[in-house]
Symmetry: C2
């Protein structure tokens, strides 16, 4: 017989209070250990009510995505139609890259409830606890030459910001070049496009998207709290993850179709309208050194046009922006 | 005791003729089978002299590269200093890509005597028989943004053409956009750059180079003979592969340093001077359709500037050029 767990005890007596003493006896651990296990369950997304003299009661389970529900809510033709839902992966990027090398179709999507090696830009780790965010990677096979592929980084930011605006209407979202989504100056999402090319041809691009949906302040390392925020923290109420995923895919497919048909021009307009980078004195750290100036817009390739203090112009394709 | 082979029989009696009858007895095969095995050895690069009534005699062994010899002749600082010499690999590209993912340094080089899944552009196979060519892949980690990486495709073509000119001085080599080296309209080499990027940052580029050095007409499939030629066939005499590899790496390192220091401008000048694409009415098949015009030069990104028949201009970043 398997050892009873706190969760199984509470689930067996759904709706009832189970006293700390009883749990302590059944699990053969101290009362303090019971309390610690309750905190652990809460961290995993369970809601446990604790009432003095009565004990503990399970009042909520973590939100779980389901393939059936996702497919029901999807309004896309290709994006997300090849859907892989995983409980835990190292990184959804690696999963999609593996599928891409095996010939997977454009639109293939991997969603994970939890990533234990989620990656951000420059190999930085990305906070992706279970059940509270949207961590997913989408496979694109765009018929565009390599020099234009960074345009898709900008397109992704526009698609994500439009989807979030739809699901959380009141929120004011700004895009920091090239693809950070900010609410009140704090990051709500991370985007990472990993591309593989042969000469000037793009073989495939894996679009990684991480959206901090229902994370609570205690899910973040302390030092990130002044830089990052979840949609729930920003709006005051939890957000339906399934609806958000469906809207991201729908917006993405729409803009991607527009891009393939009409080129970068409409995407540029949408990006510029949402940008919080334009018009402000900005320090840009490039591989060739640091420059300071006022970004004024995007050029037709997707580079950032910066007006320097001496009145000259520079186009920047790759840089870190501080702050 | 291991079964004697034709090669071991001929090597044991170095310099002497061994009669077909004796070989046939020793190997326990028919005279016709002996003759077939002789042809097979020749295909592997051995020279076997056959004289009526005397028999067969080994007069030459296939050329073999050695790490010691290569390192002795190298005049580079980084390129080729991490050297992996392999007898047979599926593809040197895959080997270097694997090393790159493990963190290998810029300049890491894999050379193979033979590839059995050598790849060209668009997944085409590449003829790479043992001992007769230079099949190698070089790892670059250029600090340039992704939109500029196709410039390295052009740089590679310049480096290769300069090295070949040094080793085979009389040969007139032209570069067909973007990176085919032609002698008398026939291809002598293949270049394939496979890049991996995160957003607009290049993580690494694997530069695959295949040079048909000492291939003989019988090494090519019949249908390739009007499109491809080896340096030996073009110049009339065999070429020292070690010297060629050393010169390619030296030219490459030199131009790469120049590029990182001064940008694309000097590379553009060198490429344009060697091009056979410029100034000729050309049909270009792009993903957006076929265009016809006269390529006039490169733009500052590395795109091909084409003058169309109506006098307008188009910049092409990715296309197939017929013929």
């Amino acid at each position: 017989m398997s050892k009873p767990s706190l969760l199984s005890l509470l689930e067996e007596r759904a709706g009832e209070y189970v006293s700390g003493e009883e749990i302590s006896r059944a699990l053969n651990v101290s009362r303090t250990a019971v309390w610690k296990q309750v905190r652990k369950l809460e961290a995993e997304g369970y809601a446990v009510e604790a009432v003095r003299r009565l004990g503990y009661r399970l009042t909520g389970k973590p939100s779980r995505l389901s393939v059936q529900e996702l497919l029901l809510r999807l309004h896309t033709t290709a994006f997300g139609r090849q859907l892989h839902l995983r409980e835990v992966v190292a990184s959804t990027q690696d999963e999609v890259r593996r599928l891409a090398e095996q010939g997977a179709a454009e639109g293939t999507l991997v969603i994970a409830e939890q990533q234990n090696q989620g990656r951000g830009r420059l190999g930085r780790t990305w906070v992706s606890p279970p059940g509270k965010g949207v961590w997913m990677s989408l496979l694109l096979r765009p018929p565009v030459p390599l020099p234009l592929s960074p345009q898709l980084t900008l397109l992704t930011a526009v698609a994500l910001s439009r989807a979030v605006s739809k699901v959380v209407p009141g929120l004011s979202i700004g895009i920091k070049w090239p693809n950070d989504l900010l609410v009140g100056g704090k990051k709500i999402s991370g985007i990472l496009l990993e591309s593989a090319a042969e000469d000037e041809r793009v073989k495939y691009i894996v679009v990684g998207m991480g959206i901090s949906v229902n994370l609570d302040p205690e899910d973040y390392p302390e030092e990130l709290l002044d830089k990052a925020i979840s949609l729930k923290m920003a709006s005051g109420s939890p957000v339906d993850r399934v609806q958000l995923i469906a809207d991201v895919l729908e917006e993405f497919e729409l803009l991607y179709g527009l891009y393939l048909e009409q080129g970068f021009e409409p995407i540029r307009t949408l990006w510029e309208a949402r940008s919080v980078t334009l018009g402000r004195l900005t320090v840009l750290r490039t591989a060739q050194g640091t420059i300071q100036g006022i970004p004024r817009g995007l050029d037709e390739m997707g580079g950032l046009r910066v007006e320097l203090e001496d009145g000259s112009w520079r186009t920047v394709y790759s840089a870190e922006i501080g702050g």
